[in-house]
């Protein structure tokens, strides 16, 4: 560990050379994924036992705990750096074998190699796995490859090269025009041009300006920011310093990390301390005269704080409620000063753009949305995890080529993209080229990039209700359209899901949704109705089936089910009779049956039945005018 401050770009290059030389002398090294996902599967124990075994065998092996390697589902992942052998689902007990066979004798352990679900062939290296083969890693290039707690690893991998280039070889205006030329769009959701934002803040005269990194990734179903903060924290810091240089007059930066991400906060703080020690943060960075420092702010659990103005109030120690814009935050942001707020992924895109140039960046992705995008691929796909793909890839490629298809080879129904601000993409748009503009055309939104895949057993009305219940709880309550509107919409959706839907409900949802979109104060409020409106747009028939036919086509809404006891398997144990709070289970002629009039469809009986003989069935009733429905129950 060098405790020397780097005084210029030359010092940095010397340090890099030294580090690379040291790496060559190691006989082997092995990467163990220690992202939150693999940690949950016990990867820290694997690191320990690998180190112990290597020491026992007298091998000079470097065990490198890395950030997320992406294929979380198959974790814990272990990769040998020498020949790229890729092991999945590794156990701490496998450590002696890995050290002895793979690292010592260069033999592979078949059992730990990932096999192709179709051909059964075992992939030897990362490149042979389709999940990785289709990806293009720009932001994630270090994530999963370096030890996030080591600045030496980052520098050895080419880190802070872009910063040195910007500070010593470019004027702030040149940096700015490079970012503008790259057409880097904000990865946090709306896709606003980052260069334009920087320019706006640069133009305003002020003694103090702020750079903020938005890591308050509140969208359920998204974890790319967490993975970058955890796995490659220096990339974010480097991006922020470059932003500070381009914008000018900014001495302070904040990284607002979500409170639910303790590991991200920890790694970020370690990285900041290390960068300060080397003089990459603080006064006179790399001898350029630039003064800039960064601080981590830990969120306290409010989804709304992902909205830029709310986030700034939260940093100021206030209630995180958005304010109307203009003035935009580039003019009056944090503490009333010009502020640039970018998302984690956006800032991590900055160093590669400066290093390789805007033309290179524009060569990836689509014309309107250059570059790559990280998606958190989850839900009913075989390979869940973190992927980075060029913009313009189709949803179908993501699901089938990278994701490996739907679990149990069921039918794909929809992809939910963009979390509670986004929408659903149905089957007919499987070949849609994903970028910021194409998604908004089909009524969805990039959002932060959560991609939840749903199959035929997921009810779209229920999913819409789920998102609304989230936005309703998380609404800050400042503006009535969002506060009252979402709660009204949630009421209607709950009624539909629980079998109390009325004719006209769909139209009412559309009406309220449109009003919220037009009148809510902030971006999150305006986009809150999106999940409902997009499911109505593509799955109106499902809504109608719920309302008119008391039928849930996906068989997911328990309240619309009909309960029946299969008497041939019933033991007459009477457990269901005891548990039923509505006295709906009656004994007649030596067998038990459920009286639908009294049954509340709570499903408690299914839970207690020892022989699983109570079945929930979904029957399509002939479409009836809803007014006649309630009467049978009241009689």
């Amino acid at each position: 560990m060098t405790n020397k401050r780097l005084k210029g770009a030359k010092d940095l290059e010397l340090l890099r050379k030294d580090l690379l030389k040291g790496r060559e002398e190691e006989s082997a090294s092995v990467r163990v994924c220690c992202g939150t996902g693999c940690r949950a599967s016990g990867s820290d124990k694997i690191v320990e036992s690998l180190e112990r075994e290597a020491a026992k065998a007298g091998l000079n092996i470097r065990v490198c705990p890395t950030g997320c390697q992406g294929l979380c589902e198959k974790g814990p992942l272990v990769v040998s750096v020498v020949d790229g052998t890729f092991y999945h689902k590794v156990d701490a007990f496998d450590a002696p074998k890995i050290v002895d066979l793979t690292l010592g004798r260069k033999e592979k352990i078949d059992r730990l190699l990932l096999s192709d679900p179709i051909t059964g062939e075992r992939a030897q290296t990362e490149e042979e796995i389709p999940f990785y083969a289709k990806q293009e890693r720009v932001v994630l290039k270090n994530c999963g490859h370096i030890d996030p707690e080591s600045i030496e690893d980052y520098i050895a991998a080419g880190g802070y090269k872009a910063l040195a280039k910007a500070l010593t070889g470019m004027t702030p205006d040149e940096v700015l025009s490079e970012i503008k030329a790259a057409r880097l769009r904000g990865r946090g959701g709306a896709g606003f041009d980052a260069g334009v934002k920087w320019e706006g803040a640069r133009r305003v005269k002020s003694d103090v300006k702020y750079i903020i990194c938005n890591g308050d990734e509140g969208d359920p179903g998204a974890f790319m920011d967490r993975s970058v903060l955890e796995g490659d924290p220096h990339a974010v810091i480097e991006g922020m310093i470059i932003a500070a240089y381009a914008v000018g007059d900014s001495k302070n930066g904040y990284i607002y990390a979500r409170g639910e991400y303790p590991l991200a906060v920890k790694n970020m703080n370690i990285a900041i301390t290390q960068a300060r020690e080397l003089g990459l943060l603080g006064k006179n960075i790399l001898g350029s005269g630039l003064n800039f420092d960064v601080e981590v702010k830990k969120g306290a659990g409010a989804f709304i704080c992902g909205e830029s103005t709310a986030l700034m109030y939260s940093i100021e120690g206030k209630r995180g409620m958005p304010r109307p814009t203009p003035p935009r935050s580039v003019e009056k942001g944090l503490y009333g000063k010009p502020t640039v707020l970018n998302n984690v992924e956006t800032l991590a895109c900055v160093p590669p753009i400066i290093e390789k140039g805007a033309d290179w960046f524009r060569s990836i992705g689509t014309k309107g949305s250059p570059g790559t995008k990280i998606f958190a691929l989850t839900g009913k796909v075989k390979n869940t995890g973190l992927i980075e793909v060029p913009m313009g890839i189709s949803i179908g490629e993501i699901i089938y080529d990278i994701g490996g298809g739907i679990i149990d080879d069921r039918e794909f129904k929809a992809a939910q993209i963009g979390g509670p601000s986004g929408g659903c993409i149905p089957k007919e748009h499987l070949d849609l080229e994903v970028d910021f503009d194409s998604l908004s055309e089909v009524g969805a939104m990039m959002g932060s990039g959560g991609l939840v895949i749903m199959d035929e057993s997921d009810c779209m009305v229920e999913i819409a209700r789920y998102f609304l219940s989230f936005t309703q709880v998380e609404s800050c309550g400042k503006c009535p359209p969002c506060r009252i509107g979402t709660s009204e919409m949630l009421k209607i959706l709950t009624d539909i899901v629980e079998g109390r839907g009325k004719e006209g409900d769909i139209e009412r949802l559309e009406e309220i949704g449109k009003r919220i979109q037009e009148t809510a104060l902030c971006g999150l409020g305006k986009s809150a109705p999106n999940p409902v409106l997009s499911t109505i747009r593509y799955f109106r028939d499902e809504y109608e089936a719920h309302i008119l036919k008391d039928f849930c086509p996906a068989g997911a809404c328990v309240s619309l089910g009909h309960y029946r006891i299969e008497s041939s398997e019933c033991l007459m144990c009477n457990l269901c009779v005891e548990v039923c709070a509505f006295d709906a289970i009656i004994e007649k002629r030596g067998s038990l049956y459920i009286d639908e009039v009294y049954c509340d469809k709570c499903g408690a009986c299914i839970g207690v039945c020892p022989t699983n003989c109570i079945v929930r069935e979904f029957v399509e009733k002939p479409a009836l005018a809803k007014s006649g429905k309630g009467e049978t129950k009241d009689e």
């Binding site: 939150t36 949950a40 359920p220 998204a222 120690g317 869940t384 939840v452 789920y466």
Partner: protein, 167 residues
């Protein structure tokens, strides 16, 4: 300490006062530090008693109402004591479609409390959380800040009880 947890409820001891003081000593009066100060005080005491918030108000030279206003805005602040073990079930989208609801119901039955509640013996608090960012392992449960892969409610509870016995 041999005293029952419920007797301690609502009692603000001298030790607590000292703990809050030592946390606040590290902070100035900058309002921007308020959320962090609240987080640290809560970390020390497990929740935010009224007395502690009054001390914070004095220390930051802000009104009690202001402190309560900020604290009550954020979901991570609690105004009542919580259990020794905190089980959070993630109900994010990915966990939702992979059956998080069943885990919540199972844990509710196993612990005899509703989500958001604490058992009478102050051993367990059960909560739901919107997303912990482990979507690829969905559904997930977080026990005392550690993400666990175990999905069977009975085993989750017994493993917590078991690891306690080890100590």
């Amino acid at each position: 300490m041999g005293t029952c947890a419920c007797e301690q409820k609502g009692q603000f001891t001298d030790e607590d006062t000292a703990a809050v003081k030592s946390v606040l000593d590290g902070y100035g009066q900058k309002e921007g530090e308020l959320v962090h100060a609240l987080q640290d005080v809560q970390h020390a005491l497990g929740y935010l008693p009224k007395e502690a918030m009054e001390m914070i108000a004095d220390s930051f030279n802000l009104s009690f109402a202001h402190i309560y206003g900020v604290a009550s805005f954020y979901a991570h602040f609690y105004f009542a004591p919580r259990g020794k073990n905190i089980i959070k079930v993630c109900t994010g989208t990915a966990c939702h479609v992979r059956g998080a609801k069943d885990i919540v119901i199972g844990l509710e039955e196993e612990l005899g409390i509703e989500a958001g509640g604490t058992t009478d013996d102050m051993e367990f608090t059960l909560e739901t959380v919107s997303c912990v960012g482990c979507c690829a392992l969905a559904p997930v449960v977080v026990v005392n800040e550690e993400v666990v892969k175990e999905k069977k409610p009975k085993r989750i509870v017994s493993s917590v009880r078991g690891s306690e016995d080890d100590k």
